[in-house]
């Protein structure tokens, strides 16, 4: 005779191998006393969360919490589900309730850090993730949160460094590859970013954000956009300032012809930057518009 735990174990197995729909199907068939088990509601919430049905996930987790208000896993996942819906106040209440029960849990501290970061409180976010890192420096989830907070603070070098630290321990961490790619692309290193985005997408082809990042990086490394690399690397303002400085210097040195040729070339580059990128974008995305 099958014990009530076996369907739950099977459901958890399907979740662990990335098949939340099958896990949910198994749980739909469970009834009666099985529904009193908080683990049922946790796994149901996890399946719904993995399917991006965050409101339903939160509802399921709340049902589980009525049976086990002290369950840290339920509270943690509830916080994540509320965060995905933008309900940061509710997400904070859930994660603080979990932290009351497990105040030195690095994963919970990291989750709270990401939450307050989303609320714009980056200084507090950094303190939380740094504390989590002190408690468990090898934790990949903590590493991801540290990378994310560094990126959000605009410290792209620190984000790249933290992301690479994760990859030395977990070379197949798709999220770490994606975040390192994002940090590199902000530093103008589009080729390096493309490699990481491509790796992230190959490790997790289901994640649309990764596929979109690969497409974006192919766009920015397209040979037609090579003349515009200075704009990507140094920004429009610095390039314009540099161009004006060169132009004025040439004129001051009496090199009017050189200045004229340089001015024409710069104007041509500007016109190129207005015309070619939108056309290239239209060409590359044309098959993907619904």
């Amino acid at each position: 005779m099958a014990t009530p735990e076996r369907p739950l174990t099977l459901g958890e197995h399907y979740l662990d191998i990335g098949q939340p729909a099958r896990a949910l199907e198994i749980m739909r068939q469970m009834a009666g006393a099985e529904l009193e088990n908080p683990r049922y509601w946790y796994l149901r919430g996890r399946a719904l969360y993995a399917l991006d049905r965050h409101a339903e996930a939160a509802q399921a987790l709340r049902v589980g919490l009525k049976r086990a208000p002290w369950d840290v896993q339920l509270l943690h996942l509830l916080s994540c589900a509320e965060q995905q819906q933008g309900n940061l106040a509710a997400a904070e209440r859930a994660v603080l309730a979990a932290l009351q029960l497990a105040p030195e849990n690095p994963a919970l501290l990291s989750q709270y850090g990401l939450l307050v970061a989303q609320g714009g409180q980056l200084a507090k976010a950094q303190r939380l993730v740094e504390l989590a890192a002190r408690l468990d420096p090898e934790n990949v989830y903590v590493g991801r949160a540290r990378t994310a907070v560094a990126y959000l603070q605009g410290d792209d070098r620190a984000a790249t460094r933290h992301g690479r630290e994760i990859l030395t321990q977990a070379p197949e961490d798709d999220v770490a590859h994606y975040m390192v790619g994002a940090a590199l692309s902000e530093q103008g290193e589009v080729s390096g970013a493309k490699k990481h985005f491509t790796t992230a997408a190959s490790l997790n082809p289901e994640q649309q954000a990764f596929r979109e990042a690969v497409l974006q990086s192919r766009y920015y490394t397209h040979w037609l956009l090579w003349p515009l690399r200075p704009f990507n690397r140094w920004g429009t303002v610095r390039v314009w300032m540099g161009a004006m400085a060169i132009l004025l210097t040439l004129e001051a040195l009496g090199q009017s012809r050189a200045a004229f040729i340089f001015a024409i070339a710069y104007i041509a580059l500007c016109v190129y930057s207005w015309v070619v990128p939108p056309l290239l974008r239209w060409w590359m995305w044309r098959g993907r518009r619904s």
């Binding site: 940061l88 106040a89 904070e92 209440r93 303190r127 939380l128 504390l131 603070q153 429009t236 004129e251």
Partner: protein, 175 residues
């Protein structure tokens, strides 16, 4: 001895936890999905600064700052930077009007060049103020609105206003 050492290690963490685990998001309001309330791409503001000038760039940066939910101090910093940029434009215009120019550069061209440079430098200040909030917005899946309607109004409307104000003030000060 070991227990005392553990207690000594734990005490600072416990104190830090007490400070950090106070709720700070209970007043947070979820974002509305209306397109007109969305922020704009930061990089497009450079065109407003280049073609419209400091006042145009300031308006767009301020409105975008509100959409990004910048703090009151940050919004005031945007306005202050805009004011400094505008005053710098007046001062530079005044000085260039009195200075002797090299042959290859007319006073009008010098003034135009300088006011664009000031507008772009002011944009850099606006960019730094908005960038962290913009990153947070984009990182957590925010979508951007189109800057075109407000941008064009700022360029032509406030661009003309700035040109007029600078001319009037410089004429008053020079006269």
């Amino acid at each position: 001895m070991r227990t005392t050492e553990r207690e000594q290690d734990y005490a600072p963490i416990a104190a830090e936890l007490d400070a950090l685990l106070k709720p700070s998001l209970q007043d947070y309001q979820p974002r509305t999905p209306q397109p007109e309330k969305r922020p704009w791409q930061l990089s497009y503001q450079v065109f407003v600064a280049f073609f419209g000038g400091v006042l145009s760039a300031t308006l767009v940066a301020y409105l975008n700052g509100r959409a990004l939910r910048l703090s009151r101090n940050q919004l005031l910093a945007i306005l202050a930077a805009g004011l400094v940029g505008f005053l710098a434009t007046i001062v530079v215009t005044l000085l260039l009007g009195r200075a002797s120019m090299p042959e290859f550069l007319s006073p009008g061209d010098a003034t135009t060049l300088a006011s664009r440079a000031i507008a772009l430098l002011t944009f850099l200040a606006f960019y730094r103020l908005q960038k962290p909030a913009d990153r947070v917005y984009a990182f957590f899946g925010g979508e951007y609105g189109s800057i075109l309607p407000v941008g064009l109004m700022a360029i032509f409307g406030l661009g003309f206003v700035q040109w007029l104000l600078v001319k009037m003030i410089v004429a008053a000060l020079a006269g």
